[in-house]
Subunit: 133 residues, 3 copies
Amino acid sequence: MMKGRDEHQIRRLLDAAHRGMTQAFGTPERDRYQIVHQHEPHEMVIEDTGLGIERSRDIVVISIVSRERPQAQKLALYEALADELEAVGVPCNDLVVSLTTNNLADWSFGLGRAQFITGELETRPALTADNAS
Amino acid sequence: MMKGRDEHQIRRLLDAAHRGMTQAFGTPERDRYQIVHQHEPHEMVIEDTGLGIERSRDIVVISIVSRERPQAQKLALYEALADELEAVGVPCNDLVVSLTTNNLADWSFGLGRAQFITGELETRPALTADNAS
Amino acid sequence: MMKGRDEHQIRRLLDAAHRGMTQAFGTPERDRYQIVHQHEPHEMVIEDTGLGIERSRDIVVISIVSRERPQAQKLALYEALADELEAVGVPCNDLVVSLTTNNLADWSFGLGRAQFITGELETRPALTADNAS
């Protein structure tokens, strides 16, 4: 995001984004790993691929790394994020979301262990290429 | 990149990188989503995998998230970025590019919608594992 | 990471992370591309997915982009990073690691070339979907 929000506004925005994630993906409450980068306006050039969407200084770009999810969950995520962020003052024309997916073995949440592989974290059945997108 | 470029130089660099992208990938003019991170020199350690490429304080690391592209487009991208950035003062030994690919459902450009899925954005035929790399 | 470490401490941490990578992945000594982002405490919300792992201001989140690796190498990486970082003062409860994988054609280390494709860099046999994870 661009600089200008205070600590309290940033926390509300992070809480909103987290609600959107947990709603759409059904992830545990404490499955939360958020890092904010604040930029000068000239460090962000965010256009619209010709969609006619206007951007302002409120622009928020959310880059999410997650294991693969069904397409329906992804579409639900974009809606949930737009709703939740709108409620804390980010209009839906100022929200861009990009997902990158990885695998269960690609996460270590601490202690040098891959908790999805060790069985410490429950995993739902792996998605196949067919029901993922 | 490292700190030291002014606002005007940064804009020229972003314009150059965007020209490289549109040339190599054939993306629309306003398909442009760029974020700059400026660092202290001690925050960047960029070596060369033994290739004998010298780095300087002009070093630029470009990390691109894009849906999958044919290998030929990727190779064209590296050449185009090197040419365009050289023209604005970044020597080709100071350019590192890394691609990460995702899928059509992994993008929402605003309004809570996944525009590649809704049909609002035109998509070329999906790449198969065979013609992608 | 959060702000607070000095230049010397950051270098020791980067050296430790690099040792972990080379040990686990068997990569060349100069296969080293590291960028540090320092944050205010309110810019990082790092929880634990319910694992009961306590976090402190020493928290370090390492996001790695790499070509695909066998699962055994990934597990070895998390252990090696935890060991190496613990040795320089980052307790293993304050380390989160996330991998994102890409392909040989997704890297240009300079000069506008994709060195894994041109043959300038040696590559081990490509991983198949079966032995990768």
